[in-house]
Symmetry: C2
Subunit: 463 residues, 2 copies
């Protein structure tokens, strides 16, 4: 076993690991201190101190920070150029956190983080402070040991991601030069369900619409007016039911038209992902896979095709014998690459106009999907970085089912964007007892250092 | 014009009218005093005094009263035999009232009734104290002037009609002898929309069911689980939509099977009813008739065919991008004559089992419809009574759209049952500022006296 016999410090990754191990306590103490600063965008708790704290951390890491005001919470951006000819990576994170929620559900104070059982417990540990702080500590470590970074780095910390980043797109559009980069890397959400490190190449977008059918001016007695006045609940139910066939496929004209066909490489990548179906269903509290998409694999259902989901229906009263006077449904479509939310909205409108002209279709929100091709030049570099830091190549995931405003990088700036989640699967983001495994945080720092090094080494390639 | 020239007091009806006119003040004072006794079955306000007061009024009218206890509010029943060979009429009313509701919405105290603008204002004026009190005053007048009634009379005052008379059917079943009669007359609800006096021959029944579809154990993120876990809202919506065709006709196998075909006389009676469609729709706050039953007249829609109404649907959330974990709908069927609620329930169950086996169908409540044929022997008698007291024949209405527990007379006892509403159309029952026109109350007394006389005169017929 010659490899095991070679000295640990021969490889840069091993040197980094040793350095991290030697600074273990201070790296943890710094994170605990950062987490103790509340930064609840929804309530304002901790602001404006939270913004100043983010500025301070960027400066400590070697970046030149600036605050970018928005109509909501400010964003913080910092930059440091790399050696000439090296690419620039834009690291996206967010310094705001969810409200803590009921204290009684927490095992320790949400804003007095503690280490217990190999995990850091506190609001923001996983989502997202612990994750972007790993990058900040990687930068700080490189600054301290090498006087700078191996490549250019811009870091942007969003101050209102937990509010849906309502001002991010305009901020990006107005700061194109500041945010110009060769690749975007973001670390948010958990690693793959199997616990394996992974690189994400896209997210589904979202389109939300509201269908409303109005009847009489008030609820009516179902005996006195049954068969006399039409019931908007029947109209709405028929309109909704007409949107899918018996197999659960959406039959709205044009709904699937722009869905980009899945390249063979992505199809293969989806197929290669490990799956513990029983566990996944148990996590969801479900007993079986939705029979509607029997021709597709688990991950293709999440990444390759759009959804049409009834989020909720409200009409009438389950206790009174009335004809309701109004019926409302809210639907969301998780958009995939190629789909234009406005065209999908128009398709839904046209369908409803045809089958139920009395039903009003209102636009609520649209966030486009984001896709970075698997064969972009940066995936192999990140994969190398993960492999060198962890000893195992990451899973390559073409697209993830949920929605992030990742399109601001891929669509608005035309920059490939790669997700490199650091948090454990049971990080409990948005929930009580949010946590981050200590080893994942430290390994995240190691991966970040390795990634910056391989990006810097790309100098020759791009030169 | 010889008729106009004949002395007013020649006809018994004219004598009654004159007697009522001479006692006008005392007849009103007695009603105001009766209305001042609260009797809110839902809250218990005014009980047990309200029951005692009903007993007292029956005794003053000449009946021998008794209290019949139930698991809820007691009923009061009184009887007085008529001359040998005369039929017995059972008069049904209820002494309980709805809660007054917010005082601020009333123009005067709900339980301090006043006369203003030709109307008596107060809780229970129309529903139902003023109406059955007209019968009580007719009986008292006959007792005082003739020492008894022209026919046998049993009166039952329900103490929990406003709660849906939950104990009436068992009370009737256990007191068949006490309640045995040749005909039932009840005065509740308003006269015909046109203001014309009317005789009602039936009411629709009701069957209420609850459909529930369960999915996962909790609401799921629509991005993380969209296309993975089936959405119970889609299942429920499809099941509901499958119950009707594009024309709004119910396509549940067997749904219309037992609907009794409409006899020609009833069809003609429906057609003969006056209709101000524009006014009726304006009252409902609707702009057009339900296009689903274009082949049927307004009154046939209400009386001749059942309804299938979605009362309400509850599922998910109109604000969150989730897959709901449960979807529930409540439906009511207004049953018509011939329909067996249990068979209709079984038909709905069988339909849902076929199209959506995951949807659970739960039985909630069933009250059978009630129908008394138009050609029963008592309608002409009541019609004569109305004509003699008011100068105009009443409208004959085969069936009314709403539901009352009238089947306890027609089905359980096999007694024909006729409705003779006294209240004005705008009585505002169940609402603030409930009222009863003074002249309708006094005319109600006159009609009741005339009805008792024509029933008594039937002695020769049945003898």
């Amino acid at each position: 076993m010659p490899e095991a016999a070679s000295p640990v410090t021969d490889r840069p990754a091993d040197q980094t690991a040793a350095a991290i191990e030697s600074q273990r306590e201070v790296l943890l103490t710094r994170l605990l201190d950062y987490l103790a600063q509340p930064s609840v965008s929804a309530t304002g708790e901790g602001f404006p101190g939270a913004t100043q704290r983010a500025v301070d951390e960027l400066r400590l890491a070697g970046l030149t920070p600036q605050v970018i005001d928005t109509p909501g919470r400010p964003a913080v951006v910092g930059h440091r150029a790399g050696p000439p000819g090296t690419p620039t990576v834009l690291i996206y994170g967010h310094y705001d956190v969810q409200p803590a929620g009921p204290r009684a559900l927490w095992n320790s104070e949400p804003f007095e983080p503690v280490i217990r059982d190999g995990r850091i417990w506190g609001r923001g540990t996983g989502d997202n402070k612990g994750q972007h702080f790993a990058h900040l500590q990687a930068l700080r470590m490189l600054l301290e040991t090498e006087g700078g970074y191996p490549c250019g780095v811009t870091m942007i910390l969003d101050g209102e991601e937990e509010l849906g980043s309502p001002n991010l797109a305009s901020l990006v559009a107005e700061n194109r030069d500041l945010l110009a980069a060769d690749v975007v890397v973001w670390s948010d959400g958990p690693v793959h369900e199997s616990g394996r490190w992974c690189v994400l190449h896209g997210v589904r977008g979202i389109l939300a619409v509201r269908l409303t059918c109005r009847g009489s001016t008030r609820p009516l007695h179902s005996g006195n007016f049954g068969n006399i006045v039409a019931n908007p609940a029947w109209t709405l139910v028929s309109a909704l039911a007409s949107m899918r066939d018996a197999d659960g496929h959406v039959v709205i004209d044009g709904f699937y038209d722009d869905v980009a066909p899945l390249p063979a490489a992505e199809s293969a990548a989806f197929a290669a992902l490990p799956l513990d179906l029983e566990h996944a269903l148990a996590e969801a509290g479900a007993s079986e896979l939705d029979p509607s998409h029997g021709d597709l694999s688990y991950y293709e259902r999440l990444g390759a095709i759009p959804t049409l989901t009834i989020n909720g229906i409200e009409t009438g009263d389950l206790k009174r014998t009335i004809i309701p006077n109004e019926a409302t449904a809210r639907l969301d479509v998780r958009l995939v690459g190629g789909q234009d939310g406005q065209r999908v909205f128009a398709a839904i409108q046209a369908h409803v106009a045809k089958v139920a002209p009395d039903v009003e279709v209102a636009f609520e929100v649209c966030v486009p999907a984001s896709r970075t091709p698997l064969d972009n030049p940066y995936t192999p570099l990140l994969a190398d970085a993960v492999a060198s830091a962890t000893g195992e190549a990451p899973l390559l995931i073409p697209a993830y089912g949920g929605t992030l405003p990742d399109y601001v990088w891929t669509d608005l700036l035309g920059t490939p964007s790669l997700g490199l989640p650091i948090a454990n699967v049971d990080e409990a983001n948005h929930a009580p007892n949010e946590n981050l495994e200590v080893e994942r945080y430290l390994t995240g720092i190691a991966i970040s250092v390795a990634a910056l090094r391989v990006l810097g080494a790309r100098r020759e390639v791009v030169a």
